[in-house]
């Protein structure tokens, strides 16, 4: 792709994701907040595509957009009434939150701009550098160095525990 068009698309995506995140934490209705969250997550999948992590983008869309947001929507259906508007804290709380966020942004951005990242002419950033599915599959299923069978299995135990825990907590007594 042309570098300029690439940059323009990237900037649009970045602005969209920031604006939508602000909307997600400030929306009056819970359902709208969840929808904005969904859009932020889809923008993030766009970033992964820009980084040439196609598999990651697919996982992001299917797990987050397809799984987590649907969970959120059902939880919202189950726990709110019609025309429910979010109750608000007193004003001081917002001030402290904004102060904490702005302070954090200032410190982190200062460190970010000060620090010189060395990556030079990164060949992987130009052209099509999709990672082969075979490489990902072998890395997930191997037991050698830089291969991830053990975390994969531990994660499946964790998911099982989460399923059982979720059923146990949420069932009717």
């Amino acid at each position: 792709m042309d570098p300029i068009i690439n940059l323009i698309l990237f900037v649009c995506l970045g602005i969209a994701s920031i604006v939508l995140s602000v909307l997600a934490v400030s929306a009056k209705r819970l359902m709208r907040a969840a929808t904005y969250l969904l859009l932020v997550l889809i923008c993030t999948a766009g970033f992964y595509l820009f980084l040439n992590y196609h598999f990651l983008a697919a996982v992001q869309v299917s797990v987050y957009a397809g799984g987590v947001v649907i969970l959120f929507l059902f939880a919202i259906f189950l726990t709110s009434n019609e025309n429910d508007v979010l109750r608000r804290h007193q004003a001081g709380r917002y001030l402290w939150g904004a102060l904490a966020a702005l302070g954090g942004i200032a410190v982190t951005t200062f460190a970010l701009v000060k620090h010189q990242f060395i990556y030079g002419d990164n060949q992987s950033m130009v052209g099509d550098q999709e990672i082969d599915m075979k490489v990902i599959g072998e890395a997930l299923m191997g037991t050698e160095k830089y291969q991830y069978l053990l975390p994969f299995e531990v994660l499946s135990i964790l998911l099982l525990a989460a399923i059982i825990g979720g059923i146990l907590i949420a069932r009717k007594r």
């Binding site: 987050y64 904490a100 490489v135 989460a162 979720g166």
Partner: protein
């Protein structure tokens, strides 16, 4: 060329917007949505560092992959707890949560 710092600035902003929501929201599901933003920003960072600084390797990508799965598990359990709290006390504002002890 898209520089690495652009991604990092976007993820920084997303992270701290999530922190702001975490502090300023009252509804538990809204707090969980803010938490989701924070985790999402962290996962962008993993992928960016891997792609720009260590392009020959895949560690950051797998960290992101496992992070997404752990986030999904955490969300499921948290929502189960929230639904349970709603059954117990009738609404899900964070102030009322101390009633769960009784």
């Amino acid at each position: 060329m898209i520089r690495m710092e652009y991604y990092l600035i976007i993820s920084t902003l997303m992270f701290f917007i999530g922190i702001y929501g975490f502090i300023s929201r009252k509804n538990m599901i809204a707090i969980l949505i803010s938490l989701e933003l924070v985790l999402n920003a962290v996962e962008i960072n993993f992928a960016v560092f891997n792609r720009y600084l260590f392009p020959g390797q895949l560690e950051g990508m797998f960290f992101t992959l496992f992070g997404i799965a752990i986030t999904a598990a955490e969300t499921a359990v948290a929502l189960a707890i929230i639904i349970n709290a709603y059954r117990a006390i009738g609404n899900i504002d964070i102030k009322n949560l101390s009633k769960m002890k009784e």
